[in-house]
């Protein structure tokens, strides 16, 4: 099983390992290569968002469990100025500095859950999750393993 990955986002060079580690963690958690690509792409957008708007931040990726679901959660934090209107920022085509405003809405479409908590002058935290449904076989094997 995968573990928790911490990645500081301080320059454009940090995005390449952020994408690679997100993909590697997703694959280690049993996600398909397609889902791993969706996750890596969302990570890329969110990391760039931090760099463009704030300049530095922190990313944490880890496995999550909930009933029959297994997933991967990405938490991206920054101490920047915050987003005044989160709803507008999540709307497709919202104009933003240095981009076409595709980052947040695009990342949201790639993930299953997407939440933005922002406080003016305090910073922004983006939490996004992708879920994977375990199939019958995987459940049986896990039960057997748990029984010893």
């Amino acid at each position: 099983m995968g573990h928790e990955v911490h990645i500081p986002i301080t320059s454009d060079a940090d995005m390449v390992p952020a994408r690679a580690q997100g993909r590697a963690l997703a694959l280690s958690l049993g996600f398909s290569t397609t889902d791993a690509t969706l996750i890596a792409t969302a990570i890329s957008e969110i990391a760039r968002n931090i760099l463009v708007h704030v300049g530095r931040g922190q990313m944490v990726m880890r496995p999550v469990h909930e009933g029959n679901r297994r997933g991967l959660v990405v938490i991206a934090r920054d101490d920047g100025p915050g987003i005044r209107d989160v709803e507008a920022a999540l709307e497709h085509g919202h104009a933003s500095r240095g981009g076409l405003g595709l980052g947040l809405p695009g990342a949201r479409r790639l993930m299953d859950e997407f939440h933005v908590a922002s406080e003016l002058h305090r910073g922004t935290t983006v939490t996004m999750t992708k879920w994977r449904i375990r199939d019958e076989l995987e459940r049986l094997r896990e039960q057997r393993r748990d029984r010893g």
Partner: protein, 124 residues
């Protein structure tokens, strides 16, 4: 060097060798724009088969390469987009237009030859 660039006649073939940082993408864009004029190229082929991720920034940069090259008289074709990457681009609603895409180098060369001979503008 993360991008290998070779010239073949009037065409330039740029093969991306590994995942690129944003700065490397911008360098590629500027490099190609410059060479189109210098070498009087008619076409650019960009092989992105090594890219595991094409996000909004890469898509926008590829588009801007195509638009810049077009203004300088060259067509651009992107080849080798991986199936998973294509799925992600659709879900993201990323658009490469007016960029042309082809499955591989051979198809890209046919596309470029065709537009060099003035065909294909109206689907002919």
């Amino acid at each position: 060097m993360p991008v290998a660039i070779v010239r073949q006649g009037d065409y330039l073939i740029a093969s991306v060798q590994s995942d690129l940082s944003d700065n490397e993408v911008l360098r590629l864009r500027d490099d190609l724009a410059e060479r189109v004029g210098q070498l009087r190229l008619r076409g650019i082929i960009i092989d992105v088969g090594a890219l595991d991720v094409i996000d909004s920034f890469v898509a926008r940069s590829l588009r801007s390469i195509a638009v810049t090259a077009r203004l300088r008289g060259a067509d651009t074709v992107v080849v080798g987009i991986q199936p998973d990457v294509a799925i992600a681009m659709v879900q993201f609603r990323l658009n490469l237009e007016p960029l042309q895409a082809a499955l591989d180098l051979d198809e890209a060369l046919v596309l470029l030859d065709r537009s060099a001979h003035g065909e294909g503008e109206d689907g002919a």
